[in-house]
């Protein structure tokens, strides 16, 4: 952790920056921001605080309505992404915009392919891409591989490599670590530090406090579109910052944990859903699993441990090629997600933009789509019932009524996640499988979602939660099943003696 050098002049500076969106909403309100060369600058704040807006303003996606942006002290007008790039600012957005059907090399070099006499020099393109990736510590990656075949974590790194093509002076990273494993995060951070030491200015958004502490030199905290403060990490009073982020929500979390502790008990009888040696070639080794009514079971394991794949088998998203499923003791064969849903086995996918919510449809339509699809097109949900469901969903998930008619992709990441979950909750699932339900959410949203999970279990619903944040599992789950290398390696009953360390040891030990 190096301390900031206040002497260096800011590369990019915002003075009194205002961004007003159509409809008069002021997404950014007179924000001052200095981004210095050779510094990693973190933006913190809750969902909707304006972090992504700052990034969008700097990237030229949402030009400033008022205020000035300065480049090396001189005012500039950045009114388009192109102008931003020309000013030496590169951006990696939250949902990295890559082309899944192109190869890694093509994605990294898109629009910057070296040209020879006969057009694009593909050999040089691949070489150059390889060099860039080597800098990111990804030299093991096959640049000829199609992006769609790579895990999310690797795609994120490819997106960053893509931003580095132009050798930018400022790199904006909007939640680059969302959903990344610690190993990948470490690798990413190593690269960021190397970039910083070369004099690149880096703007970094993350919800993970520890990551922000670990990587950044300076933190700007935003609240409701305005700047709440700026701190050099060296002088940081963590408690102050954390309590500011948590607000009144910390006691709620603690209360939740104690409630779950009381709820935790030994379950007996016929399990609601039982898997017997269920597996799929190259995805999940034969696994036994039993879920009882009203139980929250956590699925712990690293990315690639088979946790997502197992979740997909249990809900019919993928077909198992071995083993059997039993629902309330009766054998069950699933041929697709719709069938799973008709039996009340519902999966919330880890990537909400890829198979989750439907962009372009309004929040209202997204909320009722699943329920309506299960009832069939010819049995429209009566207006009264529909309004009841929507009101319930809005209240339960803490969403404002004003969001209803807007296309869901206009909402913030946390709100989108809530809609993605709410539409499944309203189908009243018997077994709800949640893959990373709180990913990319700020702490209040996380608390909301965890509270809803606990409530659903309290009402007799059965929930299987997958989470990279082990403390979330420890807080929520009655039992925790640990996966590793595509198979189950253990199962522990949650209780006072179980902590994150217990799980980490379990995952680490069984080698």
């Amino acid at each position: 952790m190096s301390t900031a050098k206040p002497a260096s002049t800011p590369v990019v500076e915002l003075r009194g920056a205002v961004v007003e969106l159509p409809g008069g909403h002021r997404a950014l309100d007179r924000v001052d921001l200095e981004i210095r060369a050779g510094e990693i600058h973190a933006l913190m704040g809750q969902n909707g605080a304006g972090k992504s807006t700052v990034v969008r303003a700097l990237a030229g996606v949402w030009p400033l309505t008022a205020g000035t942006m300065c480049l090396d002290g001189a005012p500039v007008h950045v009114r388009s992404p192109k102008a931003s790039r020309a000013a030496g600012i590169a951006t990696v957005f939250q949902d990295a915009q890559l082309l899944p059907h192109l190869t890694v090399a093509e994605n990294v070099m898109l629009g910057r392919e070296p040209r020879g006499r006969w057009g694009i020099d593909w050999g040089a393109t691949r070489r150059h891409a390889h060099e860039l990736l080597t800098e990111l510590g990804l030299e093991d990656l096959d640049v000829g591989q199609r992006l769609a075949r790579l895990p999310v974590a690797t795609r994120q790194l490819v997106a960053i490599a893509r931003a580095m093509v132009d050798e930018p002076r400022v790199v904006l990273l909007d939640e680059p670590t969302a959903g990344l494993q610690q190993v990948d995060v470490d690798r990413l951070f190593a690269v960021l530090r190397r970039m910083r030491d070369k004099g690149v200015a880096i703007v970094f958004i993350s919800h993970f406090l520890e990551q922000v502490f670990a990587i950044s030199d300076r933190i700007t905290v935003l609240r409701d579109g305005a700047k709440a403060g700026e701190i050099a990490v060296g002088d940081l009073d963590r408690v102050e910052l954390i309590s500011m982020m948590l607000g009144a929500d910390l006691p709620t979390l603690q209360q939740l944990a104690s409630q779950r502790a009381q709820h935790s008990e030994v379950v007996e009888g016929v399990p609601l859903l039982r898997a017997e040696g269920i597996g799929r070639a190259n995805a999940v080794r034969p696994t036994d699993l039993a879920l009882h009514g009203g139980e929250i079971v956590g699925l712990a394991g690293l990315r690639g441990s088979g946790r997502t794949e197992l979740a997909r088998l249990l809900t019919g998203h993928d077909r198992a090629d071995q083993g059997r499923l039993f629902l309330s003791g009766a054998a069950l064969r699933l041929r697709g997600p719709r069938q799973g849903m008709l039996h009340g086995l519902v999966l919330s996918s880890e990537r909400r933009n890829d198979g989750g919510i439907i962009r372009g449809l309004s929040v209202r339509d997204n909320l009722i789509l699943s329920l309506q699809a299960l009832r069939g097109w010819n049995r429209p949900i009566p207006t009264k019932e529909r309004e009841g469901i929507i009101t319930w969903a809005l209240r339960a998930f803490g969403l404002g009524e004003h969001v209803l008619r807007r296309p869901v992709d206009e909402l913030s990441g946390g709100e989108q996640q809530k809609v993605a979950l709410a539409r499944l909750f309203v189908t009243r699932p018997r077994v709800l499988v949640l893959d990373e339900p709180t990913r990319g959410c700020d702490i209040p949203a996380k608390v909301d979602i965890q509270r809803l999970i606990a409530t659903l279990a309290g009402e007799g619903g059965t929930i299987l939660v997958i989470s990279s944040e082990l403390d979330e599992l420890v807080r929520l789950a009655d039992r925790i099943v640990v996966l590793k290398d595509r198979g189950k390696i253990g199962e522990i009953s949650n209780g006072p003696g179980v902590s994150v360390d217990t799980l980490v040891e379990l995952i680490a030990a069984s080698d």
């Binding site: 949402w62 998203h317 010819n378 049995r379």
Partner: protein, 356 residues
Amino acid sequence: MTTESAPKAGERRSSILRSQYFGGILAIVLLLVVNLIKDPGYLSIGYNSANGALVGNVIDILRAAAPVMMIAVGMCLVIATSGIDLSVGSVMVVAGAVSMEFLSTAPDTVGSALLALGLALGLSLLLGLFNGFLVSVVGLQPFISTLVMMMAGRGVAKVVTGGQNTAASNGAFRWIANGYVFGLPVVFLLALLVVVLVAVLVRRSALGLMIEAIGMDPTAARLAGVNRRGLLMAVYSISGIMAGIAGVFATASVMTVDVSKTGDQMEMDAILAVVIGGTSLAGGKFNIAGATIGALLIATLDKTVVFLGISSSATPAFKAIVIVVLCLLQSKRVREAFLRRKSAVAAPQKEKEVVA
């Protein structure tokens, strides 16, 4: 939503002005004005007491619009699923061929007219189902599946009539396209009725929502539990039946099926009508009212071309110009540039809101 009702009235007026098919309405009016300039009596409507019919150019336009309305509405649903149905013209000729071939030997009764109608629509439904099967079960591209049907359909029609342009006479069948009720052509009233029925079916049930969901994001829709296969079958079947109705309309007016001309290039008219009506070819949101207006515009355009005496060789070019202008007017960029010019205030950005 009581809170939203207050600004609604003003909003509604501007939403009509802004609506995607406003351009279509405007174009119809402009074309009529052009015709009116050439002949001040263009819009006059007379009354023929012999058969209780209103007569006039506008009535002719309505009559001519009926077949296009049918295929445009079917096409609109298909396009909303991000598909396309190139076979509508061929399904039209099949429906026409079957009904004419049957009627040419059947007695001139209402019963045989109904039977001919049933045969035509039944066969169209089958062809639509087959399209749906190729798209949803086999998984072929909609373009290819319906292109195959487009070529095969005309062949089927020729086989049915033995390559002849079969003519028939049946009073009841003829009445469908040439009769009048309340002074208006039966064919237009029927077309309007079918459009309303389809619109009600789609919007009152959840069919519309499902179609849009599939058109916007097939993967997510499937994971949300939408029955993609069944839905696509249904949509292509609807398109098939609609084309069948159009075929009946087109042949009943002359009581002859022309195996090489009936329905020829009608798929293009249908696609244009849908696009003019503000439905994106990318799928998703669709607009049945818009497609209907698009169909009316195409009929108006066809009649105008004839009325202005534009030489038949220049007709396609004239049509193309009108449509290009219309599409330009609808393009977001042109609109924004236009709005920016009109007022110094920046045009409303259609960019995403609040994703902070």
